[in-house]
Symmetry: C2
Subunit: 223 residues, 2 copies
């Protein structure tokens, strides 16, 4: 996350009034609060209290709780987009490239549990905020283009037997990474196993790669 207690970058002396900083600070705190308690569980007063500013400013900059949540989502998706754009796997052979992609996805999910929670919350609300957002509708994902190119190359070179769709493969990889974080608590409570146990991290990371590669390289009966 950006900028909570940002200590006046050198050269810029700390102004008392700074729209950009105030806005960013509200977004930071709101992200935490929404992720912690869900949309309805989150309290506007609580967000304001944990900010250097007041509730008045939330309404001044964002208009309301609903729009604030939308802004939080927009920024959170922006972060993951940026990460995916850094993806540099084109120099690898298709098998290694897919494995690398899966690992990067795995790592990103693990490192951003708040993002996972926000997405879960948005699904409870049937993605109404995304639908209402101009920035987020049909935004897609940079990772998808990468997957498309790797699959193409893998198919051409005969390494991948399956005629797999890029969106489907993305769903397959995401589901494993997402579930591991999103359902950590119920899974742990029911089965007594912490899916996010650091000691098991490498194990699950490998398992995901093995699964995806096995699927892509397996012989399959014709449909």
């Amino acid at each position: 996350m950006t900028s909570v207690e940002e200590p006046a970058r050198p050269g810029e002396r700390e102004r008392v009034r700074d729209a950009a900083r105030t806005r960013a600070e509200i977004l930071d705190v709101a992200t935490q609060e929404f992720a912690r308690a869900g949309y309805d569980g989150a309290r506007v007063d609580e967000i304001a209290a944990r900010t250097r500013t007041t509730k008045r400013m939330i309404y001044y900059y964002f208009g309301g709780k609903e729009q604030l949540f939308t802004a939080v989502l927009e920024r959170a998706y922006g972060v993951i987009r940026e990460a995916e754009q850094q993806l540099d796997v084109e120099h690898l052979d298709p098998v290694a490239a897919i494995r690398r992609l899966a690992e990067v996805t795995f790592d990103h999910h693990e490192q951003h549990p708040d993002f996972i929670r926000l997405v879960s919350i948005e699904n409870i609300h049937e993605a109404h905020h995304i639908a209402a957002s101009e920035k987020l509708g049909r935004i897609g994902s940079p990772a998808l283009d990468v997957i498309r190119r790797i699959l193409e190359e893998g198919r051409r070179s005969g390494l991948f037997t399956a005629d797999v769709d890029a969106v489907d493969l993305h769903a397959m990889i995401s589901s494993f990474c997402f579930f591991r974080v999103s359902n950590r608590h119920t899974f742990g409570a029911l089965f007594g196993r912490d899916l996010v146990d650091p000691a098991q991290r490498a194990h699950y990371r490998t398992m995901l790669g093995d699964m995806v590669i096995a699927y892509l390289t397996a012989e399959r009966a014709a449909d």
Copy 2:
């Protein structure tokens, strides 16, 4: 779900006061309301209004909103347990048995979106209600025992190369089934593809089976 507008089974004349029926009716409506709006979004008054009885009765039978939600979860998990106990795959060969198990899991998730939503909601609350419930702590899953036996048999007969843990395989299968339903809305909004589109049902069902079998039968480098 059970018993909303249950029309006085023959022989039992409809009593005005019927504790069991009232309790069940509250649970039915509460399940819908909690699944619809989340724990904090759900309104006790709304649940009461959609019942033949009043809010007073919710407190009379369950004690409070929190306990009502716990009761809803307990019943929802009870339903899936029952379904899993019906599982009869021991007569199949390991590959067919695993595929069948995956399909049953797939079907159950698809048929119970409310259950998926409740589990998502409970994860937002870090499984506090499950932890507080005597019925649900470490409840496990009948499917797990089945998986254990199939894996054992598959390993013994040399069909499965991998030394896979039953809980891990359960997580793998669940993650795909769960994500497809739980993240349907954000995935659809972002990628323009409905993972629960009936026309794609068979496709994803096959994909899951292929994935799991590929993983279990693939050759793997030693750790």
